[in-house]
Structure formats: C-alpha cells, structure tokens
Symmetry: C2
Subunit: 359 residues, 2 copies
C-alpha cells in the first residue's frame, strides 16, 4: 500500500527533478513527445483590461502588484517559456487563455478581446509550430459571436478547439441560449475545454477560505457541477458528437462516477423526490463525450483510479503552467509504474487525436 | 486495467449475491465481523414531525406517499432489519438517525426529538446488543443542549458518538457558536459523524437536477466543503483530539488531498489572492482528525485510491442501509483483491476502535 506522505512527495519531487533533467537531455530519443494540454497564457490586451475590472471575490492577474511576475510569465510565448519547456522536458504546450479569460468583461469588450487573444496565440503557434498549439478564447456573453469566433479561430487561424472558463456572470452553459456554441463545436468537430474559475454567486460565499475556496476545492466543484448540469439539460442528447474536456483529473467526476449512476437510478425509481429519466445513463455521457487532463493532479493513486474508471484513451497529460511546477509534474508521471504504451497515450497520442495536432 | 462498465458492475452484483448468501451461512466462521457504520433509522416522533415540515428543495421521508416503504424500513429496529442483515451477511449496524434528522425543526422541537430518537435507538441496542450500536442525534440549533445530549446519550444510554447532518438552517459548524459541541465530543472522547443533506441556500439552487443535485453529487460537495471550512476555521487547532467521521469514501477529500496541500502552499505564498497560514498542512488535519467510511461507494478503484492516500487504519465499511443494497455492497467488497488483514481492518477492527464497540 502506498502512503502519500509529505516525505514521499518530497522524494517524488527529487525524482521529478532528476527525471525532468534527463528528459530534457534525451529529447528526441523518448518514444513519445510530451504534450501538455492545459497551459496558461495572457494577451497584453486582456491583461490591461483585467486591471480595469473589479469583481468581489474574483482575483484577476494584472501587471502590477503581487501577480506581476506570473503576468510576465503568462505573456511570454517565446524565449523564456521555450527555455522552461526545454529544461522541464515538455515538447509542446497547448495554450489556453488564463482563467477567467474574457468572461468577466462587458459583452462587446469580451468579443473583441477574445479575437485579439486568439490572434496573439496563433502568431506564437506560427512562430513555433512544433512547440505550441492553442485553443480559442470565446465570449459566451454573445453566443452567436462566440460561435463565429470559434469558426474563425479554428478554420482561419488553425487553433484546435475552444476554451470556456465555466460560468459567465453566474450563467451556466446548460441554458439553451448558449447552445449555438456547442452546435458550432460539433459542426467544426473541435473540442471545448471547460476550465475552472471561482464558483457562481451563492456557492462562492460558502466555499471560501484557503482550502474550501479557490483552486484547492471550489474550482473542481464548479466545473464538475457544470458538466453534470450539461448532462441533465440534454446537451449531449442534442449534440451527441460534442467533445468536452476538463482538467484536474476530471474534477472528481471519475471518483464519483459509479455513485452518480447508482443514485440516478435510485432517484429515477422514485427515491429522494424522484428524477426525470434521461436518454442514457450519466456515465454513458461521461465515457462518450468527456476527456480529462491531469493538470495539477499528477498523483499516482488518483491517476490509477481515473485510468481504471475511464480507460487510457480518455486521459491526457497537462501541467497547468505556470501555476504548477512543470518539471515536477513531468517527474511525478515518469516515476509512475505505467507501461510504455500507457505513457505514450497519456503524453502524446490522446492529445494528438483529440485536438487534431499534426506536428 | 479494470474498466468499470455496467456489464462488470452487473457481474460484481452477481458475485455480491452469491457472496452475501455465503457470508450469511458462514457467520461466525469468517475471521472478522462485518460491521456497517452508516446505517439509517427513523424514530416514530421524527417521522411524524417530518410530515408537518415543508422546506422547498428538501424532500423529507414521511409515512404517507412515495417514501412510505422506506419509512417503514427505517422505523424497524427488530425482525425485518435483523432478517435483512442475516441474509446480507451484516453482523452489526451502527445506527444513525436518517438525514436531515432534527436539523430542519424549530429549536425546542429539535432538542426534544433528538433525545427521543436516542432513547428509541438505545432501546434497540439493549434488545439486540450484538447487532446494533448507535450514534446520538443532536440539535445544533441549541449547541449547549446538543453538548448535554451528547453526554447523556453516550454516558447514560451507551451510544457511541454524535451525528450531525451538515449545515443547520444554512449555518456551518465552522461558526464558533457551535463549538461547545466539539468541546464536548473531545472531552467525552467520542467521534462526530458529519453526514450529508441538501446543500445550503445558494449552493442548492445551482446544484439541481438528478445528477448535479442530491446524493449523486451535491451531498458530497456539501460535506467535503464543510470539513474544509472546519479546517480553515481552526477547529482542529482548538480541539486537536477531535475525531470526525465522513461517509461516501471521504466525500472526495482523498481524491483532492495532494492538490489541496499544493494549492494551499501556493496561496500561502501569495498566489490567487493569498491565504492566511494555518498551524498545520491541510492534509495533516485530514490524516489525524478524519476517518472515512465507504457508504454508497463500495467500488474498488475508489477504495484502492483511498487506502493508498489515507492508509488502511482510516477507512471503515458502511452500506447506507436501506438506501443502498446491503448484500450487493458486501459482495462488492468481498470480491476485491484485499488481503485478510485489510478486510478485517475495513469490516471490523477500525469500527471497534473508532467507536469503542465492545461486543
């Protein structure tokens, strides 16, 4: 039995350091590329708009104050980032506009800044085509414009899908007014990544503090809840080929999966006030329409459980750079007792297939 | 790799049936007793009061209507329940007043009905001392009375700890006004079981529907959030010997544990708006003050992960009778590749030690 103590985590960190260094030295000789699929960036225009935006309980990254260092790291899509990737043994990053993206801005500002951020990311992908791919920022505030931008960004700019940071002004994507975005994603055959942010008003006040609030717990609850709302609203009945991606080892959905089915069946039979039957079982939607990445959760007991529950074709490596330590995360995974084919699927094959990466 | 498909769950259910039957026939020859540690009951007085109580979004069990069958099952602490335990291979049930207990009633009613429910459970334990033990219902609406009832129920009636169904009229136990309950539990050296109910106002409206709401997801979020609020409020600094128990495989806390530490450290260093330092790491509190039961989550990938993360001394078997199928749950566990000592710890030893069971 493996007890994850702080001592063993430190040992794993030490392994991580060694392994990452080795990884960097042997680039090209590994039997797989290491592709990281939830890596943050910011555009200069979004960074400037963040400074003008104030929402209680929602910290935004700005170029001044305590977040200025991470802001500089997020802006850099050239030398500094490439050096870090080389040192940490990451071959390619899939870039996502850092949370909450444009979703906290007024509608027309959000639409314009999403397009600008996509141009910024696309230019970096063009400069470094073997090192970067990107997802398209979109503004759910204007679903029709978001659908058009998803098409422009993927067809014209070559981006690989869309990214939405959960709720937008407390509205979730189970509301049908947002469904033109899903319709476009299905028609374009590109995935939508649903990334965390602070929970909506009502949840946010309860999930407060350093461990119940923020990325330690509340972010995962926010996205897991969001996915389950999409399922019960019938999003995947309406758009059966829609592909949704979530990070953080599936935001605890793999942990709860058999219970979700079990309690749904009990409720459908009348328990706990009853439930309206859905077309398929909850786990059917999750197994067929959901992919998960390991961002911020590169721990063996959790990964092994997730592979057991979802199978190795559904789990992709991610770091969550620069918020997590890239070399440490690579080292954690390299130290795991995974077979060569499992590692290749996790680090490369699943990302290539899901996001249509060609290089 | 084990894929949990519905087919394999059905196979496991078939094993469960066989194993449970075998278990019943071989009672006394197993190298351990099977003790189930989160098993529901209702007192006649609480059942009657439920019928007079109406809270939007909070279904209560009553003796009329769709919940009448489960109501009869919950009232029965004699023949029918004992027969079911024999058939399913359960030697002893630890009885908990069914959620939300007395916590939805007016203060003086709640105080009186908690005491009455404890008398009802204690009488059953006296009639069947080798088959039942029980936790004490208490009314957090009146913390001083709850502390006194915890003392009476454990010292005079012989109950084994207390049960609280998460929030009380939207108030969580991190508020210091409730801490006389924790002070009493620590002084009496008895554990407090924190059991789910519908989330507080604000969360409940968002976590709605058959899979985001209720026991499929929202209940776990409710209790996991509650535990993390206790940690950051300093409950375990003030009461370092306090023992808290949660069901449902730890309400996803074992899944998130390394990330909770990791993000707390990042926030303490200034990320995401910063965090006030706590006396110990979040996982220290969870490893030293928390025990978990498997109620409703008797699935191997999830149990293996939890054993890896928390160690085998912290995980206790539970069914959640009558809301879960007792024989099926026993069969799931008996079919797991656990060693004899692991099974004895899970089914018997940890429960005996944690709750001070003597028979």
């Amino acid at each position: 039995m493996v007890h994850i103590t702080r001592r063993s985590m430190l040992a794993a960190t030490a392994i991580a350091g060694a392994s990452a260094a080795t990884g960097a030295k042997t680039t090209g000789r590994r039997p797989y590329r290491r592709i990281a699929t939830e890596e943050g960036f910011l555009s200069p225009a979004v960074l400037a708009q963040n400074a003008k935006t104030h929402i209680p309980g929602v910290p935004l990254i700005t170029s001044e104050g305590p977040s200025s260092l991470v802001a500089r790291t997020l802006l850099d899509l050239d030398g500094g980032r490439l050096s870090a990737m080389d040192a940490d043994g990451i071959d390619m990053q899939l870039l996502l506009l850092s949370s909450p993206g444009v979703q906290v801005f007024e509608r027309s500002t959000a639409v314009a800044l999403a397009a600008d951020a996509n141009d910024y990311a696309a230019a970096a992908c063009k400069r470094h085509p073997t090192r970067f791919a990107a997802l398209a920022a979109i503004a759910p505030q204007d679903p029709a414009a978001a659908a058009r931008e998803l098409e422009r960004a993927t067809r014209t700019l070559g981006l690989k899908g869309g990214i939405i940071n959960s709720h937008t002004f407390d509205h979730y994507l189970d509301e049908q007014s947002f469904w033109p975005i899903f319709e476009a994603a299905e028609a374009l055959d590109v995935p939508i990544y649903i990334h965390p942010r602070e929970p909506a008003t009502g949840m946010r006040e309860i999930m407060s503090g350093p461990v119940a609030g923020g990325p330690a717990w509340a972010y995962g609850v926010e996205v897991g809840t969001h996915i389950l709302k999409l399922i019960s609203a019938g999003v995947f009945d309406r758009f059966p080929k829609l592909r949704i991606v979530v990070g953080h080892m599936g935001e605890a959905l793999p942990f709860w999966l058999p219970r979700i089915d079990n309690r749904y069946v009990a409720m459908r039979a009348g328990m706990f006030g009853g439930a309206k039957p859905m077309q398929r079982m909850p786990s059917d939607y999750i197994r067929e329409n959901l992919w998960v990445t390991t961002s911020g959760m590169n721990y063996w007991p959790q990964l092994r459980m997730t592979l057991d529950v979802l199978g190795r074709d559904r789990v992709l490596y991610a770091t969550d750079y620069p918020f997590e330590k890239q070399g440490e995360a690579v080292g954690f995974v390299e130290a795991m007792p995974l077979g060569a084919a499992d590692k290749k699927a996790l680090f490369e094959d699943n990302a290539v297939k899901l996001f249509g990466l060609t290089r």
